[in-house]
């Protein structure tokens, strides 16, 4: 891949804070590259280093060591940023607020007002009326925050936990917009979240953070190819059935959840018939049998548990 196809290159990035208990390493020597026009999911539990990394990327926090290179000459002109907290001027009204931030991004007043009204309608903020932002619900505030980041048609969009306060329809709408921006407008997008399920549909790459380190940096399709399939067998006697499968097929990756047995293997489609046959021959009652693809979230959880 050509170097100029990378929107951001992060090398040996570290951030340490001095605390009362000593030095705390929030981000520990991480390296990654962000390709232009792609959507990256930054996944990880609380305190994993996602927000600190994002704040270093948007230059709100200075790295202790390491280097961040951008392919853009003036980052702040092409950056759209949605912070983790709903940081709004509560005394302002949404259109006034969006117009103001639009003007600060270099858009003239008339155009900024026009764009502000567009997003006001797009995000169904009309129903809240043009009241002061202080009176808005957390979901509404989040929509205003997202709108402000889109006001100036950014080339790089960085969103920190943008879906947390949104209802399911709001989440779906946001993900749709992000997918459109990435595919149609070639916008590079970084989006962080605790959970992967909601991002799975749109992200091209995933970076999994844990304890300040990146434990997985992968293209999502590559990850899917590597994922094991699972066979879910619902039975009245799961313990006995599990024992039979272990003995006869010699698969140890078996988990029992309530009355379900979950058998994981890369060759599950080949073994499916044999497993079902053995279980039926054993005389145990089988309620249902399903083959399921292991979710990306379960892969993340496995990585984190390791």
């Amino acid at each position: 891949m050509e170097e100029n196809e990378h929107a951001i290159t992060v090398e040996n990035l570290t951030k340490r804070y001095k605390t009362k208990r000593g030095i705390f390493t929030a981000v520990d020597n991480i390296n990654f590259k962000i390709r232009k026009g792609k959507i990256y999911g930054l996944i990880g539990p609380n305190g994993a280093g996602k927000t600190t990394t994002i704040k270093m990327l948007v230059k709100l926090v200075k790295p202790t060591s390491g280097k961040i290179s951008y392919c853009y000459k003036e980052l702040n002109k092409i950056l759209g940023y949605v912070p983790e907290k709903p940081v709004l001027y509560n005394e302002m009204r949404p259109i006034e607020y969006l117009t103001y931030l639009g003007k600060l991004s270099g858009i003239d007043k008339g155009e900024a007002t026009k764009i502000a009204k567009h997003y006001f309608e797009l995000f169904n903020l009309k129903e809240s009326g043009n009241k002061k932002l202080a009176t808005f619900s957390s979901g509404m505030k989040q929509k205003v925050l997202i709108a402000q980041a889109l006001m100036h048609n950014p080339k790089l969009l960085i969103l920190d936990e943008p879906t947390t306060a949104l209802d399911p329809s709001g989440q779906a709408q946001l993900l749709e917009i992000l997918k459109y921006l990435s595919t149609e407008k070639n916008v590079t997008i970084l989006i962080s979240s605790h959970h992967m399920e909601e991002l799975e549909r749109i992200i091209d790459y995933v970076l999994i953070f844990d304890k300040g380190k990146i434990i997985l940096d992968s293209e999502i399709e590559e990850l899917r190819k590597k994922t094991a399939e699972q066979l879910e067998i619902e039975t009245t006697n799961p313990d006995k059935v599990a024992e039979i499968i272990r003995k006869k097929i010699k698969i140890n990756n078996i988990v029992i959840i309530k009355n379900k047995i979950i058998v994981s293997s890369n060759k599950i489609s080949d073994l499916r018939k044999e497993i079902v046959k053995i279980v039926v021959e054993s005389g145990e009652e089988v309620i249902s049998v399903h083959t399921v693809k292991k979710s990306l979230w379960s892969i993340v959880m496995e990585k984190l548990e390791k």
């Binding site: 230059k59 702040n76 950056l79």
Partner: protein, 302 residues
């Protein structure tokens, strides 16, 4: 420059939309008129007809002192002290600093917006008060022109004071994020400027201090009196006891400072050295702003 104006405009409009601005303006005009009225009433009750103009003029100045003094500093301090700290604490600065805005533009925008706001309200208060005083009492005491000249002097004084307090408050706001700490420091500064000289004025030490270091109030008082003097008004009939009966804390400080010196020999505006003082205030303010900028530039927003 465009960004500075954008931020200044937003600050200006935001402050004016707050109801307490109008409460403050109303309160200041009313209390100043009351101080003025007290002066007129005291004079009448003692039948000092020949001293009338001079004495009322002094009460007028006291009224203006009230406007441009402690309450004004507290007011501008309280709205400025959180200007940067609040944006950092609330996180609203995040969305400014991730836009094509230099941090110095942010600082200058805040300064300009608050300065425009405080200057406007002080202009309104001082000239409404002066006009009301002139309408209510001007025809009797023939000091109408003097009133406006004195008001202008006080306005210039308060403008200088505003620049200094704004810079100082922004400086505090950039370095200390806790409002309570900032307000305490500001309160101590107010004590130093206004109250300490009153308390210490009778001590030899303080007298020496006053002789060596003429302060804002001294300059201001002298300038205002000089303005009235230019109009041919005679202030030598000043009566300290009458002043003391109606004015309270200001009595010793201001009377002791400017009246005795005036009685001996009128102080000329050019002797006050207003220009060097202005330059000193501006230099100190610039240093404070520069230090604020250094801090703001290195500030990380968590």
């Amino acid at each position: 420059m465009k960004n500075v104006l954008l931020i200044a405009e937003q600050v200006f409009l935001e402050k004016f939309s707050i109801k307490k601005t109008f409460v403050y303006i109303f309160f200041m005009i009313l209390s100043s008129l009351l101080a003025f009225k007290l002066g007129v009433g005291t004079v009448n009750s003692n039948s000092f007809v020949d001293k009338f103009a001079g004495l009322v003029s002094n009460y007028f100045i006291i009224g203006l002192f009230w406007i441009a003094g402690i309450p004004f500093i507290i007011y501008i301090g309280s709205i400025t002290i959180s200007a940067i700290a609040k944006e950092i604490n609330d996180g609203t600065a995040m969305l400014i600093f991730t836009r094509p805005i230099m941090r110095r533009e942010f600082l200058l925008g805040k300064l300009s917006g608050i300065l425009a706001y405080t200057t406007t309200i002080n202009l309104v208060i001082i000239y409404i008060f002066a006009s009301m005083a002139a309408i209510l009492y001007g025809s009797d005491i023939t000091i109408t022109n003097g009133i406006y000249r004195a008001a202008t002097s006080i306005f210039i004084y308060s403008f200088l004071l505003t620049i200094f307090i704004l810079s100082f408050s922004l400086f505090l706001s950039a370095y200390i994020t806790k409002n309570i700490v900032n307000m305490t420091i500001l309160f101590v500064l107010i004590l130093m400027i206004f109250v300490m000289p009153i308390v210490l004025t009778n001590t030899p030490k303080m007298n020496n201090y006053q002789e060596k270091l003429p302060d804002f109030a001294f300059i201001f008082g002298s300038t205002a009196i000089e303005s009235l003097n230019v109009m041919g008004l005679d202030l030598i009939y000043y009566n300290k006891d009458l002043m003391a009966s109606s004015i309270g804390v200001y009595k010793k400080y201001y009377t002791d400072i400017y009246i005795p010196q005036y009685v001996k020999e009128p102080i000329r505006i050019n002797e006050i050295k207003l220009l060097p003082l202005t330059i000193i205030i501006l230099i100190i303010s610039l240093i404070l702003l520069f230090l604020s900028y250094i801090k703001l530039n290195s500030l990380e927003i968590q």
